[in-house]
């Protein structure tokens, strides 16, 4: 949904501040915008804009008669400057002007002048370019995750039957087609993420190398491994391709060759270099890592007294790369346990897989004002995916905010698995999430759900804590 933010401030701070705010709100909503207006009046600043609000906003409307607090928040946004009177008289025109307003650059403040924080995570007013590039990838990826995830979730929920080889949807049914369509959406999510990270760095020429290389990095056959590199690999590819192409672009090229660079030379060269790097450099280590992890799990599984530790490790592995090689090892280990007639391990996996998407989704309902509209919508989709055991629903959140999301979901998944393991939950279907319990694949539905809930509770608490703490810090700086 399109949105904008604004600030109003008048000399006395009693009447016009609020009249202008009200008018902007009404005029904006009439035009279909989501509107948030901060009032800087005699009662202090109210309805303060969060970083998330500003990030999500298409533009900024300032209806101010005197200078305001926190101008630097709007660096890099389209900003229109006006008086409160202008907003009261005709907010509609003001909003139209703002749509094409110039980007505010702010006064140049030297970086590094401020005291060098001892905290690693010093709140930053302005996002670093790396974060902006990452978020460009995430926002392009979210629709694919939502469509893919919901198609898969619905088709499994309605058309799926639990069997020894997983949730099977009978062929030649509409649910089967839907599942395949959803799978395509999920497959595309990887190149889209990599492609638009690279696009944000060096433009169109970087799209092909990034997207093709991301597909390669996610194709076990080409890599010569048992699993692709998942979304973490896609992020690596995106940045690698972006900066590689940026470097190509800095070459001094004869005028006559320039036209063929972006459509021919750069894509070819870029794709060749990055795919070669992934196959030659990363294929081996990934195979080695997967074998090592598998050996670790085997060792833990031999001794019944370490079942809780095994659970913790499996849960953490599920959440750590959500569909990447580490997750695959845990999942395949679970699947193997079914064939070996020892389905407790699959039970532990099944508990963990639901935790990341359920938690990131539920966490958007705590202090909902601190989330962007995009996150709120992706949150609902993530909850649905979590119920069906599709861990990938959490990927957009983890990518956008890794420092907070990864510790939270890894802890929660580990707790869920450990409890599942301790309670001896079994799952005879190679699939996870509440759905397998509801369909009767576990030995005890109540305890199974309890394990999931405990994990979700841990993750949601951590996510909410991180979110609120960050908001508070931003406030202190503002």
């Amino acid at each position: 949904m399109a949105s904008f933010v604004g600030i109003t401030k008048c000399p006395v701070g009693v009447a016009h501040t609020y009249m202008a705010a009200e008018k902007l709100q009404k005029a904006g909503e009439a035009k279909g915008y989501q509107v948030k207006v901060e009032t800087q009046g005699a009662q202090g600043n109210e309805n303060e804009l969060t970083e998330a609000d500003i990030r999500a906003a298409d533009f900024v409307v300032l209806a101010i008669d005197v200078s305001i607090d926190g101008m630097q928040r709007f660096v890099g946004k389209k900003v229109v400057f006006a008086t409160t009177a202008a907003a009261i008289k005709d907010s509609t025109t003001l909003i139209e002007r703002a749509q094409n307003a110039d980007v505010y650059t702010g006064s140049k403040k030297k970086a590094g002048e401020e005291d060098e924080g001892e905290e690693v995570e010093k709140p930053q007013r302005k996002q670093s370019p790396v974060v902006q590039q990452l978020l460009n990838g995430v926002s392009h990826m979210i629709p694919f995750v939502v469509v893919g995830g919901l198609f898969i979730a619905l088709s499994i929920a309605i058309g799926g039957h639990p069997t020894k080889s997983g949730m099977v949807i009978p062929e030649n049914t509409i649910w089967n087609s839907m599942n395949q369509i959803g799978t395509l959406g999920f497959t595309l999510m990887i190149p889209i993420l990599a492609g638009y990270i690279a696009h944000a760095i060096s433009g169109r020429a970087a799209l092909a190398p990034a997207m093709i290389s991301a597909m390669v990095a996610n194709s076990p056959d080409i890599l010569g491994t048992k699993a692709g590199t998942g979304f973490l690999g896609a992020i690596a590819v995106g940045f690698a391709a972006g900066y590689l192409v940026k470097w190509f672009n800095s070459w001094k090229i004869p005028q006559s060759l320039r036209p063929v660079m972006p459509i021919f030379v750069i894509p070819l060269l870029g794709t060749a270099v990055i795919t070669a790097a992934f196959i030659l450099v990363l294929g081996g280590p990934i195979s080695w890592l997967m074998t090592a992890l598998n050996n670790l799990l085997s060792a833990l599984a031999k001794n019944p007294s370490t079942s809780i530790i095994l659970g913790l490790v499996i849960g953490a592995m599920v959440a750590v790369d959500m569909g990447g090689p580490v997750n695959k090892v845990a999942f395949l280990f679970g699947v193997a346990s079914i064939t070996a007639n020892h389905p407790q391990i699959m039970g532990a996996v099944a508990c963990a897989v639901a935790v990341p998407p359920l938690s990131v989704g539920l966490a958007t309902f705590i202090r909902r004002d601190l989330n962007t509209a995009e996150e709120r919508q992706a949150g609902v989709a993530a909850i649905l995916m979590g119920l069906i055991g599709i861990t990938e629903g959490a990927i957009p959140f983890a990518t956008a905010n890794p420092k907070h999301v990864f510790p939270s979901i890894i802890a929660g998944s580990a707790v869920a698995s450990a409890i599942g393991s301790f309670l001896g939950i079994t799952d005879v279907v190679p699939h996870g999430g509440p759905i397998v319990g509801v369909l009767g694949a576990t030995n005890h539905l109540g305890l199974f759900l309890l394990a999931i809930l405990a994990g979700v509770a841990v993750s949601v608490l951590l996510l909410a804590f991180f979110k609120i703490r960050r908001a508070k810090r931003e406030k202190v700086v503002a």
Binding site: P11, V12, A15, Y18, D65, A85, K89
Partner: protein, 152 residues
């Protein structure tokens, strides 16, 4: 003393002249009713109008100022028999002036937020239309306003 009281609503006041005459009349009315300094009140109103007009359109103006001798904010209303040229944003003359008077010392947030709510309400076309319809009767004006805003 209440923030908004029937005794601070003056309907169908006749003023000959412009905005300054109207402000002077309002200052006198509110000063005598609330034991305030009429001259200081007028000066405050005029200073605010000089920054920018408080006539925000639809025939309504909201002159406001801080004034010594008040313990809490005060809302008063004056309606005019003859529309006053207020140099309003929409260039329409003013028939209703709503005075917002604030104590010099910082008032509590709760009081100020009532005024903020009132200001927001004035952006509601229906509310303004209701005010205009009620402008000849203090009792009806009082009802329109108190129905929309909670004063304590």
């Amino acid at each position: 003393m209440k923030e908004f009281d029937l005794q601070n609503i003056f309907t169908d006041v006749t003023v000959t002249g412009n905005k300054n005459a109207a402000l002077q009349k309002m200052a006198e009315l509110f000063a005598s009713k609330n034991q305030l300094d009429a001259k200081a009140l007028l000066k405050g109103f005029e200073a605010r109008e000089q920054e920018s007009t408080t006539g925000f359109g639809s025939g309504v103006a909201i002159p406001h100022t801080k004034i010594a001798g008040l313990k809490q904010p005060l809302v008063g209303m004056t309606t005019f028999t003859q529309p006053i040229n207020w140099e309003s944003l929409d260039e329409q003359p003013v028939t209703i002036a709503i005075a917002l008077l604030m104590p010099i010392a910082d008032s509590s947030k709760a009081h100020l937020s009532v005024l903020a709510k009132f200001a927001r309400k004035l952006m509601d076309e229906q509310f303004v239309a209701d005010l205009q319809a009620a402008r000849h009767q203090a009792q009806s004006l009082y009802q329109v306003v108190t129905a929309a805003i909670d004063f304590d």
